[in-house]
Structure formats: C-alpha cells, structure tokens
C-alpha cells in the first residue's frame, strides 16, 4: 500500500519527536528548545484550523493562549487542582471566551474580522497587565508548579525534569495533532475548506457558514489555551509579554512559514521559527530581521510556506499531477 507523502512526513516527524529525548539525552539545551517549540506548535495547530483550513486570519490568538495559561496556572497554584483538570479548565476557559467573542464577530467580513482580532488581543493583554489581583499584573505569576509525578511500578516520570516535561508536552502536542487530523481529514474539514474557497457556494450547498466558523474558532481558541498552559507550566511563570500582539503575530508567521493548510505546517513552522534561530546563535534582532525577509520572500514566491514549496518540488521531481487531498 503506497502511502501519500503527507503521511510519511507525519510519521517521520512523530518518530523524531518521540525519540528526541534519547537522541538528545546529553544535550539539555536542544531538548529545552524543542520543548518550547512544542509549546508553540500547539497554538499553531489551532491557528491552522482557523486560518489554514477555514481561511480566517486572527492576529490576537496568543491572547486566548494567555487565558488558558493564567487559568491553568491559577487552578494549579492557588486552587491546588492536579494537572489534568487544570489543563481542561484552561482549555475550556479559552474556548468559552472564543465562543463569546466569536458569536458577534464572526459575521464580519474578512478585513473587519482581522481588525477585531487585533483589538481583542490588545484588550486581553491590557487585562493581563492590569488585573494585578488575578494575574499578578506586569510581573506575572511566578512559581507555577509542575504536574505531579507519575509512578508506574518502579518507573517514575518526573515532570520537574526537562526530559519528563518534554515527554508530557510531546504527548499533549501529539494528541492535539491527532485531533487536528480527525477534524481536518473529515467532512467537517472539507466544509471548513469550502468556506475558505468560496463561502457563498458553500452556503448554497447547505453548509451552515456561521456555525462552522464558530466551531472552528472555538476549537482554535481552546487549543491555543492548551498551548498557553503548557508554555507557562514549562517556564514555571506566566507573564503578559508572553501573550502580547507581537506574540500573536509571530504565531501567525510561524504557521505561514511552515505552511498553512497542511497538517504538519504548524509543526514545521514552530520548530523552524523557535529552534532554528537558537541554533544559529546570532543576535536577537538579526534573527528577526532575517525572518522579516523570509516573510517577504514567502509572501511573494511561496505563500504556502515550507510545506508548499516542498510539495511543489516533490511534484516536479516525481512528475505527478496536482496533489489534491482526497477525502474518500
């Protein structure tokens, strides 16, 4: 049975991710960077569902990640809930806020929706920065605990260790990736895709445009919430600057870099954006200038990102016809 290229790539990436602790066991810095990259991969998957498949641009998504982050942090730190319920709490909080924001805002046309997401992100940032009693204000919340250890027989998974937390983040990222797969490779994904391609046509063929957009938006914000939670658990501290407009824009850029609309796009984008500069070891500004140029080149010549360019190259090499995702 011949597997499509995308499946092969996915398996390779998953295998690499699963084996990373063994490959890089002696190099904690690499594992650290990979963990951080995974913490961005998760919200990037959320944005992929929203933008890559449904075609909606959100420039405020890290605000929702922040909602998930602070909620989970507070549940674990102040309320003392264990990890899993706290994570779900963060996810629901972010998703619910997405629901509240989505209902009035998703009816807007594309230009206006983009601006609204910017504004929502800014408002959330202001709230994170100023609700000192709840969020610790500009200083943030330090001292966020790691999840408790898991003991299976004599085997202990210690999440306070880098390796342990990497494994946890990888598992959660893989689950979210699996969720993306189920949603996207189904009729639901095809309906979302039809919204991106031609909304009027989709409506005329029976797609509840608003309902689907809302579902996609809520899913994407809930997933962003999970990503935000993992990030602050990893860094053991939550701060507003982690979730400001620059972060939101970086998130979109990661996805575009990797390839929006591809299952592995967010993974490749996040790893490239986060990990590559760390390994290149140049001054922070130079990396960002470099990325600015990468974006300009992408926008002009490769709007479908790394995955898109790879697909084009693959097709040319193997002389295949246009590779269209088959749903049946």
């Amino acid at each position: 049975m011949k597997l499509p290229l995308s499946t092969i790539v996915t398996i390779v990436i998953l295998a690499f991710g699963a084996l990373a602790p063994f490959i890089f066991g002696g190099q904690p810095y690499i594992l650290y960077v990979l963990t951080l990259a995974l913490c961005y991969t998760i919200p990037a998957i959320g944005v992929n569902i929203l933008y890559g498949y449904t075609g909606l641009v959100s420039l405020g998504h890290m605000g929702f990640a922040g909602v998930g982050a602070y909620t989970t942090a507070l549940l674990m730190k102040d309320v003392g809930l264990p990890f899993v319920p706290s994570l779900f709490g963060g996810m629901f909080a972010a998703g619910f806020l997405g629901f509240l924001v989505g209902i009035p805002c998703l009816r807007l046309r594309s230009h206006y929706f983009i601006i609204v997401t910017l504004a929502v992100g800014m408002i959330l940032f202001t709230l994170f920065n100023n609700l000192d009693g709840l969020t610790g204000g500009a200083e943030g919340l330090p001292g966020i605990p790691r999840p408790g250890n898991i003991e299976i027989g004599s085997f202990v998974l210690d999440f306070r260790s880098l390796t342990g937390f990497y494994v946890l983040t990888f598992i959660i990222a893989a689950l979210i990736f699996g969720l993306q797969y189920i949603l996207v490779r189904s009729d639901f994904g095809r309906s979302l895709s039809s919204l991106r391609q031609d909304e009027s046509l989709a409506a005329a063929r029976g797609v509840n445009v608003f309902g689907h957009k809302l579902a996609a938006f809520v899913l994407s914000t809930a997933i962003a919430g999970v990503g935000g939670a993992m990030k602050v658990l990893f860094l053991r501290a939550a701060a507003p600057l982690s979730f400001d407009m620059n972060e939101s824009i970086n998130l979109m850029m990661m996805l575009i870099l990797g390839g929006a609309g591809y299952l592995v796009g967010p993974v490749i984008g996040a790893i490239t954006f986060i990990a590559l500069p760390e390994f290149l070891r140049v001054a922070a500004e130079m990396r960002l200038i470099f990325f600015g140029f990468v974006l300009l080149i992408l926008a002009r010549f490769a709007p479908r990102g790394i995955c898109g360019a790879a697909e084009v190259a693959y097709r040319k090499l193997t002389n295949k016809e246009a590779n269209v995702v088959r749903y049946t």
């Binding site: 797969y181 895709s193 039809s194 009027s200 063929r205 029976g206 509840n208 445009v209 088959r326 049946t328």
Partner: protein, 250 residues
Amino acid sequence: MSAILEVSDISKSYGGIQAVNGASFTLDHPGIYGLIGPNGAGKTTMFDIICGRQVPDAGKVLFHSSRVDGVEPYKLARQGLARTFQECRVLPEETCLDNVLFAAQSKRMTSEMLQVFTRNTKHRRDAEVEARRLLRLINLEQYADQPASDLSYGQRRLLEIVSCFMSKPRILLLDEPASGINPTLLNTLRDFLVELYEETKIVFLIVEHNMEFIMSLASTIIVMHQGRVLMQGAPEQVQADESVIDAYLG
C-alpha cells in the same frame, strides 16, 4: 395539490430604487420555467429573494407550502433548493469528483466530524458511484481526480450544474446558465439540461438573457417588467404578446 413554488406580492427596494414591486407567480407542476425581462425588471432580485440571499420588504415565497422568504440559503439548500451562480462557482481546489460529492455530504457538524471513522461504508461507496455517473453524463469522468480549476469555463458550468443533483434537490434555480458560454457549447448545455430534467422531473427555474436559448428550452416563460410580473405563458404566446414586446423595446 399545492403549488411547488408560490411567489406572492414580493416587493423589494434599495436606496430609493424599487427593484421588485408586488410581483407574483406560481409554479404548479414540474417543468422548465424561464424568468426573463429587460434590464432593471427585477428578475435578479427576485431570484436572490427565492434563494434566500435577500430578504423581501413585503410578500412571501412558499416552497411546497412552507415559507422560505428570509430563510438563510444554507437552510434552503437542506430543504431541497439547489441553485447555480451567474459567475459559475465551483470549489477550485477540490477534484471534480469531490466537487460533486460535496453536495451530498451531510453538513451537520457532528456527523461531519466523526466522518473519518465512517469512511468506507456502503453509503459512501454508493455515493461515489453516483457521482461518477453524473460526471459521465457531462463527459468529465476523465477529470474526476483533477482539480476543478483545471477545467474550462464551459466544463465548470456543467460541473456546477451536475453537482447540484447529487443532493437530490426538489427545485433547481439557475442564474443565467448560458452567460459566458460560447455558442457552440450552448446546444450541449441545452441538451444536458433537458436530459437532467427528463431524469429528475423537478422544477427548473432559469433566469436568462439569452432569448434564443431560453425560448427553445423552457416550456413556460415568466416575464418581469419594472418589478412586476407581466405575463406567464408558453414561449410562442410570450413572444407574440404586445405588452412584452413593448417592454423590451420601450
């Protein structure tokens, strides 16, 4: 027996222009109906209102006795109202086969989301067989696995129309299907529409500017002028009617 489509006293204006002004007509039985009229007659607005894209200021539209004016297009689609677009819309990134299949997929979100687990059921295999048959009808079966954007305009028009039939509609509304089609293909288009009608025996309501095309295709013509329905009758009657001739020339 109740009428299939009943349009009663529809009025619609925007910005001071009265586009439709108390128009009424009834489609009693299956057939191919043409909706014609000079520019500004209100037929496009009327079409949009029936399709749910615009809400009338007054009046009502009944489809099999239930009100459909002001109902959102996607709900009408689920009730069996299918339509094509003047500018010919297909999903450009999907294959021709998927374009046809899309019309049939359940659009209810939960069943959609779980579909990845129900991929190979008999229901879906039957759907694929039917979709290929429809593609064969328009001689596009060889393009089944190619993106719709690869097709020529005429081919896309046929694809658009045939996709509607996957969902077994009860009425098909066509918005200027002949526009942009070069004359040699018009006969093919006409024959195709006739063939589809014979197979399904539903109501086709076609808004058209191309007189020769619509007169040779429709069994009943409805003429609109200045927002009202001027007359409804067989093509020969309509072509001979003085008030219709005046409307076009005056």
